[in-house]
Symmetry: D2
Subunit: 363 residues, 4 copies
């Protein structure tokens, strides 16, 4: 999780990249080589985006399958729905493993990326502490391990500031000795929208490509560099001030747009307290037309979503205001989210563990 | 540290309240019964605001002396300057103690308010762990205590969600048994400006007045309720999304204003990357006139600072986007800031401890 | 949990006190005013000792009911049996509450004694973090609280070295404000037998009597000092080197005694490796007669259990070897044991929570 | 840190192995190929044992130099003397580095062995958190690194129960990528004498040889397996009940021996309280002759130190009483000891850091 350079349209989430590319080009997804489906399972929304090699360059993401699971169960501290999210995650991991030809007894290495001294970046290490590790039992006490378990190892390699070494080197070194059949890597991400913070889990079979710029190729943690499938599992846990500000300006425009519709007299509405339409969620339909946007917010109001964010980054950058922030409840969120993910991984990897009762294994 | 109601112009910091009242009324401070001085000591800016009983209602703060110490040493992770901040804090605490008639051997109770399970709210409890506690030595092994120490006790009462009890009741109960001559209460605050986050330490002799609304009188932790002077020590550690957004919009206006001055062609500059005036800090002088503000940001651009923030809160409130956030480095910031404060308190309370070498006592 | 003076025959556990008094006097328990019963419930042994006022002085324990629950589920890391222990604990707390006239809606204060910076002394504070706190809901959102809950508050008052204040003063102060109908106090104890370490939970209605010597009366946390029933809940988590050594010498005598019986040639058996009777547990029946004890361990072998321990304390005391120790797995033991106790308390206090599914509330 | 098999005369400390071999054979050390020197520097005793290849088999330790630093500064919580211990440690590390041909700019890997979830086994990981890591600065911002620093990396590989992998495999994998010029490995050890617990730091250039039995060769972390010098740094943090009991029995014999000398009437002295010779430390000279040992403690009293311990292990083993324990103050001890070691390592590795002011780098 690194602070991205200014003006970089890069996002860690495929669903965001997909939306950006559509916004920009106006083309249909099919034409671009992107297949996108959505489904609702037990109250959990699951969005799947498949990116072909052709589409990869355009969208700025590696080819592969990207699954996004939407769950506000962590934010709402709803234990029952957290269990449901774990179950759905387990199913999706299971599907991706199968697609990639990973069979029942094959051995896995789970890698928790991030810095355990920085809570919002500790999702990986916190998950690792709850992953059911079995590989040593296969080596030492094979008679105690049921056929429904598979050999699993787990490690938190730290970050460069803690170890002094390239994280990818540590993983490569360990993988060469351990020789896993597949790798699952967990990481905290930066959100490009406030609403995704601690609400989405992205899972893909495309590996991890830090920086993703030229010359960084060797640092990717992927099938190309490691020779075995690498599944990446990420959750946005931080957001920058520029994103908060530009998201808020969009909301402001929608809000004023809706008010105009309702009252036809926005100028009065600008007096605080003048709005009465309650708690209905603002939607894209509330965004007013270009003329009204200019009235409400001048030239700034006419910028596109991306242009606005980039302008704000330009403004905040030099004066060092572009804070990376996390919700104040970060401790509880990280605890619950790492639990959801570890329970999902444990149920996916070991046939013996039922998805909805796997929480016992994570204590 | 509670989420404040929408549209409340309330702030925990006296310097902010002072600025708001000036902005609103245009009157001079003297006329309002507010005496404000500023000084720079060893690179640390110290601002002192004295509020008379007359001014108290207007400004919405209890009468008393409010000292604000500005230090970015925690943000910059600069250990030497953190020591200097502790030294200045010790001097200011010393002055306030003396003003309030607290003599050398009098016994103190240090109270760390806040929730130790929520890192940005744990400043009080984290500080308490580092406060030099001596009272029991005076009772049990009086011969081991030099004359330069005073009896000090310390407690973290928790928050209602943890204890089920009113925090003020816990403090009242303990104070009735312990009978301190004075109390120092430490708390994390909400910032009303991003730039104050973890950068200002406010110290006052006015006690703590949570909620500060009608009917909450009994919950104040103050000389009125406890019979002895109560010194409050607070640091802003969180900020809400509305503040981030409205601060950013102000910066945006200043930025565009400065660009206009430089280039006289702001329209082009809106293309990202079009700005070249480097890292000079934006100042109030960069804020353009009303006409230009309207051009840049429409009706929203013409709102005052307060109106903007209140509008944003109105917008964010219903759709639940008004997150309370904290910088992602919260763990390190809380550790260093609690160290700075504990070192300052220890040096102020015990003559034996030199302010700049007191860090040894906080490990 | 304090290091006890040398030669003090004092024990925190009533079952140990009972055994000691029988050993010393040879009298029957009935005659002494002690009623002792034992039962096995779901694999958990429960021993109940009732001490009358008459017996109180002899046995060195306050009059009252003392329940000891034996469970090696924590040591064995057996989650299922830990749940059973919680269930039995809940039942026993329920019985004691009823006996003491505590009715359904009456409000309770749970107090976690001990030092959270010293893991084996942190049982109280760790339990408090998992106790379901409801009192504030009754005050603030009474409509959300079912009739099956009762108002419960919880606090960890710390120890004198942390706060500088008498722990009892803190509790008295809080209780005067909160006015609970009953108090449950949790503490870590010193074991007088290695085998009880983290294996027994003692519950009583006799309050807590630290030091229990003359002049300490005022510091007791009991019905006498607080006016409401005080239930004490303790678990031995540490043991001193003298206890380890004298317990081991007893085992040595039994071992040699059994060998003599088996081989009739103990002299040879003293060559290590000479014993073959496997893993059968040594019992009191294995203790050889006085003559053999003299042969095996000389004058020391002829001492009684108490005399031996006191002699060892005399030896170890001056040379500072009488360490207080805890098993190296202390972190895991404290975590599991605090969970067992909190789950038991939560189920006992709130009718809504089933004893065996209450673990969900302690996360 | 593993529980050793019964009857194994193995010890992690060379000074103990040296003493055992002398006790057993009666030979002089020289003759055995062991050179042993002792010195006192600034109040810190330093003992150096050099073991030749010839002596290696006899003594059961790898050939090499073993330095033992005696410091009770951690136990006594004496910060000044802890600094002195760090200074001496830095000097000794410096000497060993030089002896092994490690030059100024050569790069080092510091490895913290042990389990961070088990406090007494967390010495390695806790030290790593405080080691000054610089390697990445040499790669990324070489201009910020003074010539007096060297590139240092650090890692805590965990234990098999946490990772599922052989710890040595993790280290080998990382070392192959990082290619250090030397390795320093820190580990918690089991003490063979209560008095060494948290009081001795052993440093050697002989690497780490877990198990040290046949067939485990490949798991050694040493120059043989890694190709570069491996310095091992160990501190005894746990002790087993058998050691406590047999040490205590020895003390008991010495105590009775001294009493006999003083009073000539030991029988009376066995009544507790009958001893009056104060707090003088028992020494080997107090050990009575064989006849008196038989009188005092029968056949058991006549056993040698080793025989006694082995007999006790035989007794305790089957009945599962042979606990591995740690002092109850384990949290504080580990914190201070890890600080002492990290400060010593930092000062030894970076010329820029003065040994006695290096503590600032470990916060």
């Amino acid at each position: 999780m690194e602070k991205k350079g200014h003006f970089s349209p890069r996002t860690d989430l495929a669903v965001e990249a997909r939306d950006m590319i559509v916004e920009k080009s106006g083309d249909s997804l099919d034409k671009k080589g992107i297949i996108s489906t959505e489904e609702n399972r037990g109250g959990v929304k699951v969005s799947t985006v498949k990116i072909t090699s052709d589409a990869s360059v355009d969208i700025g993401k590696q080819p592969g399958t990207y699954v996004t699971i939407y769950t506000d169960s962590v934010k709402r501290q709803d234990t029952d729905r957290q269990q449901m999210a774990s179950k759905v995650l387990a199913e999706e991991i299971g599907k991706l493993l199968e697609e990639s030809g990973i069979e029942k007894g094959m051995k896995g290495l789970v890698v928790g990326l991030g810095n355990w001294q920085v809570t919002p970046d500790a999702l990986g290490p916190m998950t690792i502490e709850q992953v059911l590790v079995t590989n040593h039992l296969f080596e030492l006490e094979v008679e105690t391990v049921h056929g429904d378990y598979r050999p699993v190892a787990a490690v938190s390699p730290g970050v460069m500031g803690l170890t002094g070494m390239e994280t990818s080197d540590i993983i490569f070194g360990i993988a060469e000795k351990f020789k896993p059949d597949f790798i699952i890597a967990i990481d905290a991400l930066a959100a490009r929208a406030v609403e995704r913070l601690n609400e989405t889990i992205q899972l893909s079979n495309a590996g991890i490509h830090p920086g993703s710029g030229i010359g960084n190729k060797r640092k990717a943690i992927s099938k190309e560099t490691l020779g075995v499938p690498v599944f990446a599992l990420g959750v946005p846990t931080v957001v920058d001030a520029a994103t908060i500000a530009s998201d808020t300006m969009d909301d402001l425009l929608k809000y004023l747009g809706r008010t105009w519709e309702n009252d036809n007299k926005p100028s009065q509405s600008l007096v605080p307290g003048g709005f009465h339409f309650g708690k209905e969620k603002l939607t894209d339909d509330d965004m007013p037309d270009m003329d009204k946007r200019q009235v409400f917010m001048g030239m700034v109001g006419t910028l596109s979503d991306n242009e606005k964010r980039e302008l704000v980054r330009e403004v905040l950058g030099p004066i060092d205001h572009n804070l990376i922030v996390t919700p104040k409840e970060v401790d509880g969120f990280m605890e619950d989210m790492s639990h959801v993910i570890a329970a999902g991984i444990n149920a996916a990897l070991h046939g013996k563990i039922a998805a909805d009762e796997s929480s016992g294994y994570t204590r």
